[in-house]
Symmetry: C2
Subunit: 553 residues, 2 copies
């Protein structure tokens, strides 16, 4: 690599929402910011999780000085259990709550003893190789979120992490405007800025506006109040707890991740719950309905979550009853709308009153809207700018916004995963492209589900499969048994006896007409395939996967 | 059936968005309002279309006096080619443009000569059996939309259709407030009201607000302007044409349904295009970019639509070039967000400037928001009210809104598809439930894809399929050939040779241990299935469909 240059290599999160992972190199030193997961989209049939392809780092493990984590959300830490082993477990650096969340995750994967997680805070600074590293507090929808300052000998790189500016946050810790101003005064070479909410004009409202809505809802709720939100949204949990205290209600928790996160947040001092307020979900029926608040997971309508089970009358302990008020304190992540709507419909059907974003002011975003993005750029005043964390349109819009604030066009780079960006004090250039992309986690295995398997799953999902099984004489090639036709997901076999009998006839006819190819099995299979494919499409306009199996005896 | 009662039987559109179909009965007379389709959701693997289950009407065909159509959208007319033959082609009643759209559809299905479509207008009234029928003009996102008045001897039933109130519509024809007021004054027994947009406060803005946005965009566009919208949104096409005229641009069309609809709308007088303005898409390169507007399909990111092809560099005639401005004049239908975002990202990547709802004011809804719903209820002042057209939560919210306007709780019925509602001058009751639901259209066949086929497709889509094929001696049951293991969509076979070899071993072992069941094939198959299922889950945490095939020779 060129000496005396900074290289920026995004391996995830640029051109997509999720699996954030950024490589920052200065000469021999490599720092990594975040190692996230992404949740599979509709086209990734059967995939559980998606992690970044980190093969770029395979021959550079010895140069990795550390992994810096901005905050504890899945799209920033969820890839660690899969990627850490590939990188020989480099040291991690994270704030206290983030460390706690990572520990829970590493414990589940039985690798807690293999990883050193160093707790950092906005007050500390590190020296990692030739680079100094500092942190600054930002607001986000989880406590203890930070942005990162990497001081290279060539200049300072600022990575904002996910952020918004909340002047009146629930935890009383606003973003560190002073540090950002000082950095801007000192001079910043390159800023990498969160683009998630660039399509929204104005400011993201303070978390505090939720207080008024909760207050109004609690004041009018005739029975129990059930609040679903993200398990990591500790500040929202705090607001519900505070409101419950004002209205003299007890709080029960349900949903594994909600219980775990709340417990940890209390232990680490990120959540204040009055003594005696928390009750077990098993005990809620010992109280009057108007004494109860339930905080649960399921705000995204996830099929096995607590709220979805409640909505489907499938929860171990909680059934909707007359007078229940349910609050979905979250917005659907794109792609989850239908699941969320299904949950809301079912809750209404059970007789609950349901309040959700749009109807009622029960959620605010964790990301900066346009005016906050402008504020960040105006404080940091970087020479070079690179939008991160967003789909391509969001990166472009963020670039345009930076341009509108006076950053020169040639000083802004819109890059995607795998692009290699070189930065010198004079210029920024997109110089190369390295391997990057999606690695699929499906069940126990990482990476063995590739394009062929996914393509097959897609074909199977559309029109199912039809098999033609045939036993032939090894010597003569003459059919001995079959062809048997078996199908799944194509037609209901009992309803389609005639179609399948005719299909069988076609196979028999095509076999009697092989012109001496009778022992060339790949030829025979192709023949069966094309015969069936043509016939079935003509009759049904469907294209099931067709799988001929020939056994020799 | 009870004499002297009105029966209302919704067969589609209540508890869901789409496939609207409402049966209104008075004694022996049956009137049907709308026969729509629904587009399949993610769980309906491989299904092309969903139509209502109309089996309730199978033994009542002779009582059907007519099918009344409110407007020409797919979710109101798309089911006709499938349902009409089941009902022996009863007469249709529709406004002029709606008739034109239905004719195009019936022609495609080669049944134009079998159906009588009577053209109606808000000025005509019909007598169908014992019921009088009238129509009133409403505003919607397609011209020539009407609501329906059915005058039974027991009282008047008003069906709003899909509607909004636009005081300054593009076609100059506002909703018929006078008629609605008169109906209210005369007394309406039952109103069935569109609930689609009940979650939105305030008023839906007039279509006219789009003019200002288009004007601003055209004024600043350095090159071509490409506008994608719904092919049926004739008023939007009119606005684009009018703006093109002001800016002296020629208009080209692309996308089959856009070309067909525009042509018909011009012929029937619903669209005014200045002479010489329309050019062929083949000819756009003969003009300067700033002389060109393209109007196309694809505002929902549909994979084979014109805009998606343009975004993917896959369009026969049009490639994005420097200076192009693309407008998506529509909002994503829930479920289509990801496809729309993908299209926008790709357009930005090709270098276009892209404007879409949220960034710019380029679309308004076709449905009434809360204040308009209140206006409709306040004009019609029905004794009984039944919300229609919406998911369950929307029906409930619409019912609550009606209650807040003073309609008594016992006079409001929230019903779903298949419910039977009886109405007398004194009371409204949900009295019965009949067969209703989804009938799936997949390829050429209607209805043969049922729950079993869909469930199989779902399993196949998640973890694929694994077959174990075995040839045995008919007499002794001894294995002669196999087991052969074949898989698709489970693991990539070349990467998983060891796993599959071991799986094969397990099958062999399980066969050697049959304890005298060796010729009971269903026992053998179950044994193979459970052996493989257990082994594969242990090794991979996946559950492919397992299909043992045993051939006897």
């Amino acid at each position: 690599m060129t000496k005396g240059k900074i290289r920026i290599v995004p391996l995830g999160g640029l051109g997509e929402v999720g699996k954030n992972m950024m490589v920052v190199e200065y000469n021999d030193d490599i720092l990594i910011v975040d190692v996230g997961v992404m949740f599979p989209d509709d086209e990734m049939f059967g995939v559980d999780l998606v992690i970044p392809d980190a093969s770029y780092l395979a021959d550079k493990k010895h140069r990795i000085r550390g992994i810096l984590i901005t905050h504890g959300h899945e799209d920033h830490v969820g890839g660690l259990p899969y990627i850490l082993p590939m990188l020989n477990f480099p040291p991690l650096f994270a704030t206290r709550l983030t460390q706690g969340l990572i520990q829970v995750k590493l414990k589940e994967h039985r690798m807690l003893d293999k990883v050193a997680i160093n707790v950092i805070s906005p007050e500390v600074s590190l020296q990692l190789g030739e680079c100094g590293v500092e942190f600054f507090r930002v607001n986000h929808s989880i406590p203890d979120a930070v942005g990162i300052v990497i001081r290279t000998p060539l200049g300072t790189v600022v990575h904002t992490g996910d952020y918004k500016f909340d002047y009146t946050p629930i935890d009383g810790k606003p973003a560190d405007l002073g540090t950002l101003g000082r950095l801007g005064n000192e001079g910043v070479l390159l800023m990498l800025g969160d683009s998630t909410r660039v399509e929204s004009p104005g400011y993201t409202p303070s978390e505090r506006v939720i207080n008024d809505s909760l207050d109004k809802i609690f004041a009018n709720a005739p029975g129990r109040v059930i609040v679903a939100t993200f398990a990591s949204l500790i500040s929202r949990v705090q607001q519900v707890v505070d409101t419950a205290e004002r209205y003299e209600r007890f709080v029960a928790l349900t949903g594994r991740s909600m219980i775990n996160n709340v417990q940890m947040a209390i232990e680490l001092g990120y959540l204040r719950v009055p003594k005696g307020m928390l009750i077990r979900a098993e005990d809620i029926n010992k109280f009057n309905p108007e004494q109860i608040v339930v905080i649960c997971t399921g705000s995204q309508g996830e099929p096995t979550s607590a709220l979805t089970r409640i909505a489907n009358q499938d929860h171990r302990l909680i059934r909707i009853q007359e007078g229940d008020t349910v609050i979905l304190s979250a917005t659907p992540v794109p792609g989850n709308e239908k699941m969320v709507h299904r949950t809301i419909n079912n809750l209404f059907k059970q007789g609950a009153d349901v309040l959700y974003q749009g109807l009622s002011n029960v959620h605010v975003s964790g990301h900066a809207a346009q005016e906050e993005l402008k504020l960040m750029l105006s404080l940091v005043r970087p020479k070079f700018f690179m939008p991160i964390h967003g789909e391509y349109r969001q990166l472009i819009l963020h670039a345009k916004l930076a341009y509108s604030l006076g950053i020169a066009e040639e000083n802004i780079v819109v890059a995607e995963d795998g692009d290699v960006i070189e930065v010198s004090p004079e210029r920024i250039d997109l110089v190369d492209h390295v391997t990057s992309g999606n690695v699929y986690v499906d069940g126990l295995s990482v990476g063995d589900v590739g394009q062929i398997v996914l393509r097959d799953r897609k074909v199977l999902s559309q029109d199912g499969i039809l098999m033609a099984v045939l036993t032939v004489d090894k010597e003569t090639g003459a059919p001995i048994a079959g062809p048997d036709i078996v199908t799944r997901g194509f037609v209901y076999m009992r309803d389609a006896e005639e179609l399948l009998a005719n299909a069988r006839e076609r196979v028999v006819a095509s076999l009697s007409n092989l012109n001496g190819h009778s022992s060339d099995w790949s030829f025979v299979k192709d023949k069966i395939k094309s015969t069936l494919s043509e016939y079935l499409y003509e009759k049904t306009r469907r294209r099931p996967m067709i799988l001929p199996v020939v056994m020799e005896v």
